[in-house]
Symmetry: C2
Subunit: 321 residues, 2 copies
């Protein structure tokens, strides 16, 4: 038996590969078979992470196991879908038992947290990269797309912004910080928590949603374009963590919250009438701006002045279709 066949058997025996709700047939045949509840649709998303591009190489395989799955599941959360399964295509230059065990531990832990079962995949030799394809289900009419934001809606996010991008200098070892600052930032980078429960709560309530991966303003641009509206972001309403402000100072913290990526926090539009009920349920919702007629994304200061040109690369957010 070749070493890559051994790896396949290793993953097939992992706790997260032992089936679950909706998994009619898991690892070991030509295909997995998934059952979608009657009246619901299957939500699918694929993400590739390449060593040295999307994560440092080398890095801690346990943390990589967590992060690689979390990043992918976040797309299901953004759709209001309930995650239930995933496949893993893993390309490795060499096989070491230590690496594999640590990676699988991180993967298992995140799979359990997200309620997803490993149902298939492929293991090949080559430069380190991972492609996750994740599966969820959602009633078709309640899926949260990017295309439904309406003028008058409030623009909201589901948590603090900029922590992961702020952590990058720590991840790369370019800077150091005391544990009270470094730990929460690094945790956000390596173990993002896909906002699955919030996504389910937003079904039938949010008019548009996505997860923030490219950076707040860039992702606002995606919603503005898909919905055919303008989005106005108020600089002073951005939720910043104490750790981020302590690490970077207020101005740079604001900059990474606006333009840094990897937040994996939900960004959504909601009619004002629906907000109180969501807030009463205790969701961590921060209103950061509003939806207007027009197109593109504008950043304003505390007195409503357009300060978008002060943001690096701002032309990008002014794009027209």
């Amino acid at each position: 038996m070749g070493e890559f066949e051994l790896i396949r058997n290793y993953f097939a025996a992992a706790p997260c590969a032992q089936g679950g709700e909706g998994v009619a047939l898991g690892i070991g045949d030509d295909c997995a078979l998934l059952a979608v509840p009657p009246g619901e649709q299957l939500a699918v998303s694929t993400d590739t992470l390449v060593a040295g591009v999307h994560f440092p190489d080398p890095c801690d395989p346990f943390l990589l196991g967590q992060r690689s799955l979390a990043v992918a599941v976040s797309d299901l959360a953004a759709m209001g879908a309930k995650p239930f399964a995933f496949t893993l295509a893993l390309t490795l230059p060499t096989v070491t038992a230590d690496w594999l065990q640590a990676y699988a531990r991180g993967l298992n832990q995140m799979a359990q947290a997200c309620g997803v079962a490993l149902v298939g995949g492929d293991t090949t030799r080559g430069p380190l990269s991972l492609t996750m394809t994740v599966f969820g289900h959602v009633p078709g009419s309640q899926a949260l797309t990017r295309g439904g934001a309406q003028p008058g809606d409030l623009l909201c996010v589901g948590g603090e912004l900029g922590n992961a991008a702020g952590a990058l200098a720590l991840v790369l070892g370019q800077r150091h910080a005391e544990p009270a600052i470094a730990e929460p930032l690094l945790a956000h980078y390596w173990s993002p928590r896909p906002q699955v429960a919030l996504g389910l709560a937003l079904r039938g309530k949010a008019s548009a949603a996505m997860d923030i991966s490219d950076g707040l303003l860039a992702d606002c641009g995606h919603i503005a374009l898909a919905s055919g509206v303008a989005l106005q972001v108020e600089r002073d309403r951005l939720p910043l963590s104490n750790a981020l402000v302590a690490f970077l100072g207020g101005a740079d913290a604001t900059q990474v919250a606006l333009s840094g990526g990897d937040d994996y926090v939900l960004l959504f539009a909601v009619p004002p009438s629906r907000l109180p009920a969501l807030q009463a349920e205790g969701w961590p919702i921060h209103v950061i701006g509003s939806v207007l007629a027009g197109q593109g994304v504008t950043l304003v200061d505390d007195v409503g002045h357009d300060i978008t040109p002060q943001i690096r690369g701002y032309q990008h957010f002014r794009e027209t279709p």
Copy 2:
């Protein structure tokens, strides 16, 4: 707009990305949304191809576009599933318009032949590799697994064996042959035709099925193990193409038919009573052996002598669970 965002837009505009039956929402949001017919299950398979490992680097991108999709869809055929969608995770070291256009042309052509729509994916920078995840649907009770072969069943294949493995020396430029020999062999390597229609015809008739990717004897081993039976292959019943025999001679042609990979022809077991109806429908079915009580795979000659030890790496097929 970055070059990788341009690629994403390029694929989103491709003919094969314009939706199809079962595609409720295609490329462009956080997830695609797929509709599975009531009472059916979703069949999913993931395959990674790495440059220099699974295909020569460099190679013709048009042919790679065809082959990369065909190899993945073959797993759906093996399950008796009807293909309808796929995602593509493409990692590229550099972006050249010529490469991309030729790849997309090959991909489109195979997508059309297989009836699948491109519904999502990811495009990243890194060493060239491709991960395809393909989707089909099948009534749960009719899916063809590897696990149902019964003693007394006939062992069959859906077409000629060894052509793709025989073509490898041509693919790598190590040997040359006249067009009448080279062309059919190279076509089999670069443009395998997933046996989707045969897979659908075998629903409810074959007791076990898979597609031959690792090589006939190795894949027989997978069915034998999953079904808890022994498989006996008769050397003189292997369907060999004239081109393969002319290129390699009879003995080596038999060897690659037994141990070479990449055939992407269906291998299946069927009760003898069900064979005549299938043959009457005109399917290219070749009986190559039989299912027996026991375990493992045996190769026999024309008088029934066990000649398995004459095959390179034969221990592999004698494996016990």
